[in-house]
Each structure stands twice: as structure tokens, then as C-alpha cells.
């Protein structure tokens, strides 16, 4: 059987359902080239890459909202060609002279097409003007060092002056250890910026995406006026392994998920990726921001 007819057969079998998601064992038997497939890191089911892209990288089996690059997130969120980047040349120094840190940054800058783990700027979302921050876990697990802290702080200071809302898509492994104590101080710095921003009476929406942990959970990501989480993503303070080692027992699957966060009262809502733009636009409207015309 040729590859094309094989794909047809598989798709035919699932055509009345959601895009086909295949049990990993079944997928192995089907002998489909691996580069056509994408495996969900949460449920291990396999889907066709093409379908995975079409579903905005949401698993059609378990609804896990997979990680996005900043470009993918921006494209899904902002109105076309509306994004203007802030601080596009800001680059970290090496405060504790950590071996190979500058080289590592250099490589990542090229690979991720960004200067550090967050892109900030302003854009329109369904016509509403907003300051936006997008963290990208491909860049050193989007850990927060000097650049991330400074860019977030400036974004809030700018938005306070311009009377604009701020939306941050958080994703992070926490503080950037390679910058030592300087990275810890970024938690306080962003917290201070948000305190000032609150005095300016503007709206901060924190969107929790996969994974949000450590010093970012313990700073700006938890300080939104409204906290939205994408379904099935990981959110927590301490690492799962650290806790498991302390208590010496296995943790339940739903521990530290978006759903768990909601149940425990630390998120306002879950929002599917396909509804995110309308959800954000709706909240901006309710907070009396007006659409830019033309």
C-alpha cells in the first residue's frame, strides 16, 4: 500500500470525528513516517502534524495546549501587522561570569529569532490597543533574568503612562540561575512595576501557558487582575520532582495543572486557544478600552 492511500485509509476511518488521534501502539503498527506525526507530550497519543497545526497545537485527544513559539502566539493573538516591538536590542550581560553563558545566549538568539526569552510590544487585538508580552520556552525555558525583568517592567511603566492594558502570556522555568541573585531581584522589580501600574488604574491580564513555574509563578504571573489559564498546562511553584522527593510518593496526574489551579481558586478561568482572542477582546471592552477605528 502506498503512503498516500495509507493516509487516506486512516483519515477515512476517522472522518466523522475530531481529527484522528491514534494510540501510540497503533501508530507504531501503521508504519507511518515519523516526520508526518506529532506525539502529545501529555497523553502520548499521535496525530498528524498537519491536523495538529490546524488545531493550533492543541491535542485533539486530551486537549493539552502545547507550547508555542513567540511568533506562533503573536500570529494567533494580534491583529495582522499590528505588532510594534519594544526594546528590540536589549541583551543580557553575564553578571556572575557564568561559564559559556554569553555563547549560549548567542546561539539561542539565532535559533529563536529573539534577543531573550520574552517579546514585548504593543498591538491590536480585534481592534483594541494593548501592551503585550509573550514568553517563549524555547529560549532557555523562558527563565527570567535581567532582560526579561527589565522588559516587563518597562512594558508596565509604558502602559501606565499611555493608559493601556497589559496582557502577558507567561511561560517559564522560573528565575534564571545563570544570573545569580540578579535574577531573583527581577521578581521584586516586576512586582513593584505592577503595584505602580495598579495605581494607574489599568488592567493586567495574566495568561498562564505551558509551563509556568518557580519565580515567575511567584511573581508577575500570579498578579493579574484577571488570570486566564490554557487547558491542561502545567502551573506551579515547586517542581514536581522536588515535591515527589520530599514526600516520597507519586503525585496525581492533575496536580499543578490549569484545572487544579482553577479548582483551588488561583485562576479566574480556563480558555481554549481558539477562543482566546474573543475572550481577551471581550475583557478589554468590559474594562472600557475602546476600539481603534481604521
Amino acid at each position: 500500500m502506498g503512503l498516500e492511500s495509507l493516509l487516506e485509509t486512516v483519515k477515512e476511518r476517522f472522518k466523522d470525528e475530531k481529527p484522528p488521534h491514534i494510540h501510540p501502539r497503533a501508530a507504531a503498527k501503521l508504519n507511518i513516517p515519523a516526520d508526518l506525526l506529532s506525539k502529545c507530550p501529555r497523553c502520548r497519543f499521535v496525530v498528524f502534524k498537519e491536523d495538529f497545526e490546524k488545531s493550533r497545537k492543541v491535542c485533539t485527544n486530551c486537549n493539552y495546549h502545547a507550547r508555542l513559539s513567540w511568533k506562533e502566539r503573536l500570529e494567533m493573538t494580534a491583529d495582522k501587522n499590528s505588532f510594534v516591538e519594544f526594546d528590540s536590542t536589549m541583551t543580557s550581560r553575564n553578571p556572575i561570569s557564568f561559564p559559556d553563558y554569553p555563547e549560549r545566549l548567542k546561539t539561542l538568539r539565532k535559533d529563536c529569532d529573539m534577543r531573550d526569552a520574552i517579546m514585548t510590544g504593543e498591538c491590536l487585538i480585534r481592534g483594541y490597543k494593548t501592551v503585550i508580552g509573550i514568553m517563549d520556552s524555547n529560549f532557555m525555558m523562558a527563565s527570567m533574568g535581567s532582560v526579561v525583568g527589565e522588559k516587563i517592567t518597562r512594558a508596565f511603566e509604558y502602559a501606565a503612562r499611555e493608559k493601556l492594558p497589559v496582557i502577558i502570556f507567561a511561560a517559564s522555568g522560573g528565575a534564571r540561575m545563570q544570573e545569580g541573585i540578579i535574577s531573583l531581584m527581577q521578581m521584586a522589580k516586576t512586582g513593584g512595576a505592577i503595584a505602580k501600574f495598579a495605581e494607574a488604574g489599568q488592567l493586567f491580564i495574566s495568561v498562564i501557558t505551558d509551563p509556568t513555574t518557580g519565580g515567575v509563578t511567584a511573581s508577575f504571573a500570579s498578579l493579574g487582575d484577571i488570570i486566564i489559564a490554557e487547558p491542561k498546562v502545567l502551573i506551579g511553584f515547586a517542581g514536581r520532582r522536588v515535591i515527589q522527593d520530599t514526600i516520597k510518593q507519586k503525585l496525581p496526574d492533575e496536580f499543578q495543572t490549569a484545572e487544579y489551579l482553577l479548582e483551588k481558586g488561583f485562576a479566574d478561568m480556563l480558555c481554549e486557544r481558539r477562543n482566546m482572542r474573543s475572550c481577551l477582546a471581550n475583557l478589554l471592552r468590559i474594562h472600557n478600552y475602546t476600539k481603534k477605528v481604521g
Binding site: 540578579i182 513593584g192 495598579a198 511567584a218
Partner: protein, 267 residues
């Protein structure tokens, strides 16, 4: 001033007889009166808080409690607070703001507790809220690191107008052991990590993270607890008077700027 290595200091601050807040508080403050509870969930013995007078000035004291023996450590969870500890700290800081009395935070923790209950009660949220609220608290805040300043769990009591660090105390984004096991997959390289991370009081002064190093007696604070307490008190009275003389607007602007300027980047 001694020139101990970071590794030597790490061993020193973990000594069983290193003085704790329970030694210092009676030597520094008068009329200390403990106040309990966060008013939402419970009372966390890892954080001891209350009101006192200091040279006749009313103050609020918030302190992390290392145990002096295994029994006390069991009770205080080895000074690793749960969310309700941080919420108690915030409640009493707000109370201090109401009565316009300075807040003095004594920091000594390996870190915020990592466990199921801490997660489900919002450890991240509790720390985050303290960072934001302490930044705009309308009364002077002075924090002193006595031994271990472990990451976000220490920072939650160290958003302040001035940070002082005992000579041999340490302040770090992650424990050297944690650092070694995450980055090098080898926790036994703890000593190497301790040196690399730049976590001593001199480092803190150099980075602009701390404003003051408080001297310890030769060999460390445990060799003369009273002298160490006197050194702390001597610094504190000067700082309390100086910061209390500032108008609130200046105080808050300076506090914001203290953290605002920390970051090392080019553009």
C-alpha cells in the same frame, strides 16, 4: 573582616548553634508580643511575628524561625514557610502601615516549603503578593538576612527600603545544592556551585542588592551572640531613625528605585 569562602560560610550558617531569631529578639527588642495567624487558613510557626518596642519606638517584627534542636525544627518546619506564613507576614505588615510603625524582617530560611499543601494553598501567589504589597507599603521596611537567604522564600520578606546582611549570611536565587543538581545533574558539586553563584554578603553589596554588612565576631555569630545582637541593634537604630524621617512619597520612590535599577544588560 574575615575572608571565609562561600563554602565555609555555608557550613557556618548551618551550624546547630548559630543564633536564631529566638536568641536575637529578646536581646534587641523590648515588650515583644507575638501575634498569630493569617486570618484565612491558619498560623504558620515557621514565621514568628509580632509587635515590640525598639529604643522606645513601636515596631513590627517578622522573622523566620530556624529551630535550635530537632523538636523546634519539627515545629517550625526548618524555617520553610507555607503560604499562610507569608499571608500572616502581609497581614501584620499592613497592620504596621496602619499604625505607621517600621517593619523589621529577620530573614533566615532555606526557602519556601515545597509540598502538596503549599501548592494547593498557592505558595506562588502568596510570595508574589508580598512582593507587590511590600513594594508599596507606606511605612519603612528594613530586612536583615541572619543566616540563609533562600530564594523566593527569603525575598518574600526582603522587599524593603534597606537590606542588611550579617557578615557570614548568604543570599541566593537557588541553593547551591539545587543549582548543582539541576544544571550539572550532580548535587555533590555543591561547593563549586556555592563559589560560582556569588552569594556572600560582599557580593550582595557589590551587586547593589544589600546596603549594609553587619559584622560578626571572629569565627562567627555563635561565638558571641550578644555582641552580634548589639551590632544588629546599632545598625537598626540608625536605619530606623533615618528612614522614619523621610516623607512617605520619598520613601516609596527610593524603594522602587532600589529594585528598579538592578539588572545587567546592554542595548
Amino acid at each position: 573582616m574575615s575572608k571565609l569562602t562561600a563554602t565555609e560560610r555555608l557550613a557556618l550558617v548551618r551550624l546547630k548553634n548559630r543564633p536564631t531569631v529566638n536568641d536575637y529578639i529578646p536581646l534587641i527588642f523590648n515588650r515583644f508580643t507575638e501575634l498569630h495567624g493569617d486570618r484565612y487558613y491558619g498560623d504558620d510557626p515557621a514565621i514568628l511575628a509580632g509587635v515590640a518596642t525598639f529604643h522606645s519606638i513601636p515596631v513590627t517584627v517578622i522573622a523566620q524561625v530556624k529551630g535550635r534542636d530537632i523538636e523546634e525544627n519539627k515545629r517550625t518546619n526548618f524555617a520553610m514557610p507555607h503560604p499562610e506564613g507569608y499571608r500572616k507576614a502581609l497581614r501584620l505588615a499592613k497592620q504596621a502601615e496602619k499604625f505607621r510603625r517600621p517593619v523589621i524582617c529577620l530573614v533566615d530560611t532555606p526557602g519556601a516549603f515545597c509540598g502538596i499543601e503549599a501548592e494547593e494553598r498557592g505558595q506562588g501567589e502568596a510570595i508574589a503578593r508580598n512582593l507587590m504589597e511590600f513594594m508599596s507599603l507606606k511605612t519603612p521596611i528594613i530586612s536583615i538576612i541572619l543566616g540563609e537567604g533562600g530564594s523566593g522564600g527569603a525575598l518574600a520578606l526582603a522587599v524593603c527600603d534597606e537590606l542588611a546582611v550579617l557578615e557570614n549570611a548568604l543570599y541566593s536565587v537557588i541553593s547551591p545544592r539545587g543549582f548543582a543538581s539541576i544544571l550539572w545533574k550532580d548535587p555533590t558539586r555543591e561547593k563549586e556551585a556555592a563559589e560560582l553563584l556569588k552569594i556572600t554578603s560582599e557580593d550582595m553589596l557589590r551587586f547593589g542588592v544589600a546596603e549594609k554588612i553587619i559584622a560578626e565576631p571572629a569565627g562567627g555569630a555563635h561565638n558571641d551572640c550578644r555582641l552580634t545582637a548589639d551590632n544588629i541593634a546599632e545598625y537598626l537604630i540608625e536605619a530606623v531613625r533615618r528612614l522614619s524621617a523621610l516623607d512617605t512619597e520619598t520613601l516609596l520612590a527610593n524603594r522602587y528605585e532600589k529594585f528598579r535599577k538592578i539588572g545587567e544588560f546592554t542595548e
